[in-house]
Every structure is written in C-alpha cells, then in structure tokens.
C-alpha cells in the first residue's frame, strides 16, 4: 500500500439537524484536520451519531454546510463521497466470504481484478486475517469480524474513515487490543479518522482531539489532556470522569489564575486565562493524602469515611470539616498503613491542578 493519495480535511459550518420538532444537532461548527484522529464523544442521544451520519452522507443536514478540502459536499449523497465506514455491529455482508467482503468496495469502483487481489491480500495480512479468507462472517469471532470491517473500510484507501461505536460489542480485553490495532492502522495509513464512542477512556486513549456532544451541542473540542484537565463546563468535567466540586465563598481572578476560599481555607489556582467562577473542581487522582499538612500547595483537612481497594489504586471517601464529601484516589503503593476510616488526614494538591466550573 505505502503511499496514499492523501487524507482529507472536513469542515462543518453551522450544521443543524431536526427530526420534526426535535433538534438533534444545533449549529455545529468544527474542522477535522487532515490525518487527524477525532473522536465524537457523548452520552446516547447527544447527537454524535447523527453528526457522523451527516459526515457519511446517510443523513442530510437541515442547515449548515459541510466541506471536504474546501469543496462543498453538503448535498453529495453517501455513495458519491467514498468515505470508509465501520458500522456498529460491523454490517458485514453475510453471504460473502472474508475476501469477497474486503474486495467489495474495490469491485464497486471497477478496479482491475489483478489490482483487487493484491490490495485485498495486503489488507488481509495487515489486519491479521491470513487463513480466514474463505470463511463467512458467521464463522468468525467478534474480534475477527471487527478486523474484516476495518479491512473492508480501508482497502480502497479512503480519504476519511468513519467509525461508529465499533467496539461496543466486544469484551474488555478484546476492546483494548482492537484499540491498539486501530491506533496502529491510523499511524500507518495517515487517513483522517472520525470515531464515535460513548466510552470516555477509549476516547482519551485514541484521539488527537475529542469533540464532546450533549443535547445536540458541541460542548468542547480539544486535546484529550485539555478536555480532561481544563473542561469547558461542568458537563464535560463530569462526563469525562469523577470530579469533586467545591462550592466557594469567595473567588477572584489574579491574572495568572484565581484565588478563592473554600470552608475558610484559601485555594489557589495557577492557570492563565482560566475563567473564575464560584465552584472549584478537582479530580480524585490529582489529590494526595497525607497525615501531616503538606508544606505548600492547596490542602483540606478531612476525615476518612471509607476505603475501597481497586488493585493498583485505592479510593478514599472523605468528608471535610464543613461536611462536603470528597473522593480521592491514589496509587496503592503510596497508601500509608494508618489511612483507615475515622482518621483525620490532609488532602493536598498542587496549585497547577484543578479548574473552575460553571454550575
């Protein structure tokens, strides 16, 4: 395979979609860079799948325009877009063998039989299906069917590959190895990948950028690190993982971050450009538990209410002096023997961690 005719850049401007009175998507504008691995993340019904269907051309946007490398493709039907697509549940052709499934897009394009054979053979090796070429989908395991679906969607070197919750039917171990596989294929091929999932860890692990959807709105579009550590709003913060929300009595911006007061204790945040609000958020694993008050950084005194052993990590349920519940998670090997329910301890975190959220 080797060289590619190039990945494509997709630009959505003000895309909206209504089904009757229901607004599935409202004013979505974003650019998916050439060769990017962009994940559309959100709960079910958030509009992420509808947006993917509009990208694929299976649904037509009610408003807005969609461009591919600057060319308007809003009204171009799916069959003329020639994007690769991996469907939820794979959608393999049950009456065709693995080989025939993978060859299908090439045959539709009218490629020469010799060329088809070379490309299909190469793809079968690439996804590790050698020895299964003559089997039908019903005779394959879930992971193998997934590989066929990937091979079929990539064999014609599409400029864009769309993946609609491809791993939702796989068990956890298989899911992780397929994620590796998809990441490897993305690096090897350099195609633009657009991936839909409702699994936060999958999105964080795979993507170059994540677009988070809720109620048909694009909530935030940024790198995994940014959306996790600097979420745009409370929905994004809570959707991407556990977060402690501390209600503040005072808060003001300082130019390079913010200063606030929580239950009489000062809290400092160093994060230039952060909008200061009346709520401070800190993730459980960004805090450290200690017996004595830490020398610097932010700290809270709290009582241990419960301890949960999770293997490599241990999770503590704490209650501050003011009665606010807090969850803290730290590596098990750093847990002191004395951290037991009833103990008064200190939860601390550096001034660079945490963020302000709106309500």
């Amino acid at each position: 395979m080797g060289k590619r005719q190039g990945a494509a850049e997709l630009t959505a401007v003000g895309i909206g979609k209504t089904f009757g009175d229901f607004h599935a998507l409202r004013d979505i504008s974003l650019t998916i860079g050439s060769g990017e691995f962009l994940t559309l993340l959100g709960p079910s019904g958030s509009g992420k799948s509808t947006f993917l269907m509009i990208l694929a051309g299976f649904e037509e946007a009610t408003s807005g325009t969609l461009k591919k490398d600057g060319v308007d493709i809003t009204r171009v039907p799916a069959e003329k877009r020639a994007f690769g697509m991996v469907f939820q549940g794979y959608a393999l052709f049950p009456h065709m063998t693995v080989e025939q499934n993978i060859a299908f897009p090439l045959q539709v394009q009218g490629r020469a039989p010799g060329e088809i054979k070379i490309l299909v053979d190469d793809m079968i090796d690439r996804v590790g299906l050698r020895g299964h070429e003559k089997k039908r989908p019903a005779g394959l395991s879930g992971g193998q069917q997934q590989r066929v679906a990937l091979a079929r969607a990539l064999v014609f070197e599409p400029a864009v590959l769309l993946l609609d919750e491809p791993f939702s039917a796989l068990d956890k171990n298989l899911r992780v190895s397929m994620q590796e596989e998809v990441r490897r294929l993305h690096q090897e091929l350099g195609t633009t990948f657009v991936f839909v999932t409702h699994d936060q860890s999958e999105a964080l692990a795979l993507s170059t950028r994540i677009g988070i959807f809720n109620h048909g709105h694009l909530q935030q579009l940024d790198t995994p690190k940014q959306v996790y550590e600097r979420p745009a709003n409370r929905f994004v913060a809570e959707f991407l993982g556990d977060v402690n929300i501390l209600p503040l009595s005072e808060a003001q911006a300082t130019g390079h971050g913010g200063e606030a007061v929580f239950e009489g204790r000062p809290i400092r945040l160093i994060a230039p450009g952060e909008a200061v609000t009346k709520q401070f958020a800190i993730r459980p694993e960004h805090m450290v538990l200690s017996e004595k008050a830490p020398d610097d950084g932010n700290m809270l005194q709290a009582e241990i209410e419960g301890v949960t052993y999770l293997g490599s990590e241990t999770r503590f349920a704490l209650k501050t002096l003011g009665g606010t519940p807090i969850v803290l998670q730290m590596p098990t090997r750093e847990v002191s023997a004395g951290f037991e329910p009833g103990r008064m301890v200190w939860a601390g975190w550096p001034a660079t961690q945490g963020f302000f959220v709106g309500s």
Binding site: F58, A78, A82, F87, F93, F104, V108
Partner: protein, 267 residues
C-alpha cells in the same frame, strides 16, 4: 429443548391421523374395479390408473397446470419482489396504505375476485387472443393476482430479517442502486424468494374458484378437470389422480427432510 411427553406424542399422532384419514380413504377407492366411485369389495383393479394414461385429456391438463403454475408464480413473485424492495429501501410514509392495497385479494371474497377477473379477461379477449378469457396465459394472470399477496408477505418477512446497515455499508462504499439490490439484498433473501416461488406455484396448482369463472373449454387445468369429472360422471380416475398427487407430495417432503438432515449434519 425438552423432549415431548408420551401423552403429547399420542395426541399429536391422533390429530395427524384425523387430518390425514380423508386422504388415506381415497387410496382404496382408486383401486375399485367399478365404473363409479366406490370402495373395492374383494376385487382390486388398476383400470383407472390405466385410464389416466390412456386419456390424453389428463396429461394435457397436468401439463397446462404446470405451465400456468410456473408463469403465475414467476409473475406474482417478481411483482411482489419489486413491491417489497421498493417499500423496504425507500420506506415511504404511506407504505402501510400500499401494503393494505396489495394484500386486498387475500381478504376479498374469492367469488368477488373471480367475477372481477372474469370481466377483466373478457375485456382483454376483445383486443387480443393471447391473454384473455379461457386462455392459459389469461388463467396465469388471474392466478398471479390471487397469489401475489402471499408472495408479498413471504418476501416482506424475509426482508425484515435483513440488517439495514449492510445496505448502508454498500451505499457508503459507493454502490449504486443496482449493485445494492443484486449483489447485497437479493442474495440475502434468496430463500424467501425461493419459498415465495414454491408457495405461489402450489397455490396456482390447486386453484379452482377463480379458474371456474375464467375458463370454459380450452384452458382446463387439473383441478378443473377433476371437478368436471366429479360433477359429470363420478369417475374413479379422480381417486387415481389424487393418489398419484399424494404420492408425489410425500416423495417431495421425504426428499426435503432427507436433504435438510444431511445439510444440518454437514454444517
């Protein structure tokens, strides 16, 4: 699956026996030496089987019924396929209204359909000799009208088992409507199509109600021939042809059972 209890087996056998008895009763009658329908009393004869072979009218009507069965099943299955595919692929909002229309012949009283088809074919006879009253193609068209709803039901059910996403996938890979239909959808409902063809043939083969209204002297199908034989002279040849048909049906069902068993052991 749990094994049926002996009581259930006995009950099922009794029901089967009750349903099959009239069929079994016809077997001894076919061997009667008399010239009218009667149980043979001591003496058995094959003369009515001989009569089937000697009288060319029987073979002609069998051949006619086969031709009509094939043509009408092809017409009805093709129409049903086009209709069901259209509904499945384009999902118009008035799909249910269309479906109701197509299924009408199934619920309309057969006599009403028969009279309608009678006038329809009489009308056609005035403009051509090929398709009209008392022609074999005319009968096939009339049968196709009566049979099409059953074919629609079978093919619609087969289509409802197809995962829509395979059609979406084909579209996504650039397949036009012809490729989608012939390379993707039809191969996945081939058993439904074969079943529709087979059932259509059987329904046409045994059709008598409409046939009585649209034939007179030329297009004498096998059921029509038997009906005439029964009405005019109570000919025991009817019993003989019935036994032949029963034997064919048993042979087909046995063959199907054996083939299915062999296939399932292999797979």
């Amino acid at each position: 699956m749990s094994k049926p209890t002996p009581v259930a087996v006995i009950l099922a056998s009794l029901v089967a026996l009750f349903l099959l008895l009239p069929l079994i009763a016809v077997i001894p009658v076919s061997f009667t030496p008399t010239r009218f329908l009667a149980m043979p009393s001591g003496e058995w004869s094959l003369r009515h089987y001989q009569a089937l072979l000697d009288n060319p009218a029987w073979l002609q009507s069998i051949w006619l019924s086969i031709r009509i069965g094939i043509l009408s099943s092809v017409i009805s299955t093709t129409l049903a396929l086009m209709f069901s595919l259209g509904i499945w692929m384009f999902r118009p909002w008035f799909a249910n209204i269309l479906l109701g229309f197509v299924l009408l012949p199934m619920v309309a009283p057969p006599v009403v359909s028969a009279i309608t088809l009678y006038f329809f074919l009489i009308g056609l006879s005035k403009v051509n000799d090929l398709v009209g009253y008392d022609t074999w193609i005319g009968v096939a068209v009339a049968h196709a009208v009566m049979i099409a709803p059953f074919a629609v039901v079978l093919i619609t059910v087969a289509l409802s088992q197809v995962d829509r996403r395979i059609d979406l996938a084909a579209r996504g890979f650039g397949a036009g409507i012809r490729t989608r239909i012939f390379k993707v959808i039809l191969p996945n409902i081939r058993f439904g199509i074969l079943t529709a063809l087979f059932l259509s043939f059987v329904l046409s083969w045994e059709e008598i109600g409409v046939t009585l209204f649209v034939t007179s002297v030329n297009a004498i199908t096998l059921p029509r021939m038997m009906w005439m034989g029964l009405r005019d002279n109570i000919d025991p040849a009817i019993a003989a042809i019935s036994v032949v048909l029963i034997a064919i049906v048993i042979a087909v069902i046995l063959a199907k059972t054996v083939v299915t068993a062999m296939l399932s052991r292999k797979g």
